[in-house]
Symmetry: C2
Subunit: 370 residues, 2 copies
């Protein structure tokens, strides 16, 4: 079967024939139908974040279960699944507490690019192992993943939309709905209108937020934010965003979400919340960057925290988000800028790097998505 393999950062992915093992205990074989291309993939590709090489990237995958390994009870061939970037074991204290995105088994999966639990890879090229990004590897026609890396979803939802929910889109939705837990009528500012930020706008809209303020440097992204529910937009290349938020709200927003991963923008987000407000970091800053704050701000009751993949409970929330989409209440498909084939993956990354797209999708014709 074919996969897009990254042999070293800053080189094009190679589309080539690779070997895939059969699923082992608690694993499933998935035929990929669609996969989103996420900024995290690009970070790894550009070497901005370290990844074990060679590797098959791609983690926003959706597809059909083809085969199950020994001991798999939760899924059967024919089931439609979405891949969850945050593996949850179900057994650790975080999983049991209802915070599965913080599962203690995640770190080895993330850093090792191996399968949970216990490691190893199922992909090979000429007998040599290939790593699976986040234990997933969706830039391929097929993959083998742990059954708990898969979330069963309804069969009538389009793969090219639901695949988005494995990572960034759920992070944005959850940052607004779970981490901020914005209540009807409360105000929120969202800094950065890429896939995560626009999803946060949608989450805030769905939760009934009073004033939704979207901040970005590009009018094109701000128009999209407006279309998805932002009440106000601020082009930070033309206006000082903190002053503008104060002008709109009087004393600052109840919540701000930083969706870029830039420490200066984090400072703006933190400065834009009211006394007692909450600032949420969703963006991943480069290693080594430090966020600085005057501690008296904390004595004004201000809070800063992060969202861990939207603090979602994937198995519960992803099917809900899909129902909302299918019922016309959550226009996830508007995030999709363009479609590619696996062979066009390098073009897709090029477009992403230029900031031209919100989310692009690789579709695999064989899987026959809706």
């Amino acid at each position: 079967m074919k996969a897009a393999v990254c042999y070293e950062p800053n080189t094009p992915l190679r589309i080539e024939e690779v070997e895939l093992d059969s699923p082992q205990a608690n694993e499933i074989l998935v035929r990929i139908a669609a996969t989103g291309i996420c900024h995290s993939d690009l970070h790894f590709l550009k070497g901005e974040m370290p990844a074990a090489m060679p590797i098959v990237m791609g983690h926003e995958g959706a597809g059909i279960v083809e085969e199950v390994g020994p001991g798999v009870t939760s899924l059967k061939p024919g089931d439609h699944v979405v891949m969850a970037v945050a593996f949850s074991c179900g057994n650790c204290s975080y999983c049991r507490e209802g915070r599965p995105t913080m599962c203690v088994e995640n770190l080895p999966v993330m850093s090792g690019a191996v399968l949970p639990v216990g490691g190893g890879t199922r992909l090979h090229k000429d007998g040599k192992p290939l790593h699976h990004l986040f234990g997933l590897a969706s830039f391929a026609e097929y993959t083998v993943i742990h059954e708990r890396s898969a979330i069963k979803v309804r069969n009538d939802a389009p793969f090219e939309v639901v695949c988005l929910l494995g990572c960034g889109v759920s992070t944005g939705l959850g940052a607004a709905m779970n981490t901020a837990a914005v209540k009807p009528g409360e105000s929120i500012a969202i800094f950065g209108c890429g896939g995560v930020g626009l999803s946060a706008v949608m989450g805030a809209k769905l939760a009934g937020a009073g004033k939704i303020i979207a901040v970005d440097m590009l009018d094109r992204k701000l128009s999209m934010a407006k279309e998805l529910g932002a009440d106000y937009t601020v082009n930070a290349s033309q206006e000082e965003p903190v002053g503008k938020v104060m002008e709109i709200t009087g004393s600052g927003v109840d919540y701000a979400i930083e969706c870029i991963g830039n420490v200066n923008v984090m400072s703006q987000a933190f400065s834009s919340i009211r006394y007692g407000g909450k600032c949420i970091v969703a963006g991943m800053a480069p290693l080594g960057a430090m966020f600085s704050v005057a501690p008296f701000e904390f004595l004004l009751g201000k809070t800063i925290t992060g969202t861990v993949q939207g603090d979602i409970r994937g198995a519960i929330d992803i099917p809900r988000y899909i129902d909302l989409y299918m019922d016309g209440k959550l226009p996830l498909d508007k995030l999709i800028s363009s479609y590619y084939t696996l062979e066009e993956v390098n073009q897709a990354f090029e477009a992403l790097g230029k900031g031209e797209i919100i989310r692009s999708i690789i579709r695999f014709p064989k899987a026959g998505s809706k």
Copy 2:
């Protein structure tokens, strides 16, 4: 009547006769029975924090209502009251939301050292106005304060104990019980065992915390922490406290409270919490100090926030704390290191500056405290 007046920072307070106006609308005349000496007073005295001068400091006061001004309905002569350092108007959105320590009327009172609402002073020396620290001024035989700066308390509680609840002690109790809201069995580390930190230890103990870890540089303070409920003590001059917290807990504490106001200690406190844990700043850092943090820590679900005077609802919580004390469940009196008279106020500050005492109390013989 006599008051201790500060004419400029770093000079001894002068005990002298001053004039006090009658209470105006919504104000009361209080005969002070006892007042605590707080580190904040010392900060102002040393010029580390700016205060309007000349000023009568002192804000941890308790006493008896002698006279009420026009419109006062909540208090009558003879009532015993504790002064609340955080004025709450009862009308702003924070007060109505149940977060009265964040009242919008507080800032002018704090920074102007005038009476709420609307300013002005009731104290004079030779016709010239003297400021009231936090709108209170308890280093005096009598004072005039706004009725909402006073919390009515039971008549059988000793003034020299209940006076502590107006500021630092409530901050510490509330930081553990309200801001952390530590639940039975959860773990907490408290950095700094002065009045605020030891009160946080007591609050954590009362709330049933599982592991209470007290950190300080002085064994004397750590012994006190142990006496008040700490399960573990760490002398940070001898052991690296973050490593020690990890050794005790395995993966970090659920909560850490910083009670010193030192950005390096804030970093230690933040580093000692587990993924998903909460760090609370209670200490006031010097102006200009900056707290730095690697933002990926937020993506581990870690939170940093501050406590605003313990996030207490003074009128509800202070009487409760007094009941707990009277019932033998909250040994507030153990925080008192020594007693002074108003004439000895400079000695009291000298002892505080040397770190010799946790809390010292000025008692006024006339008021006939228990």
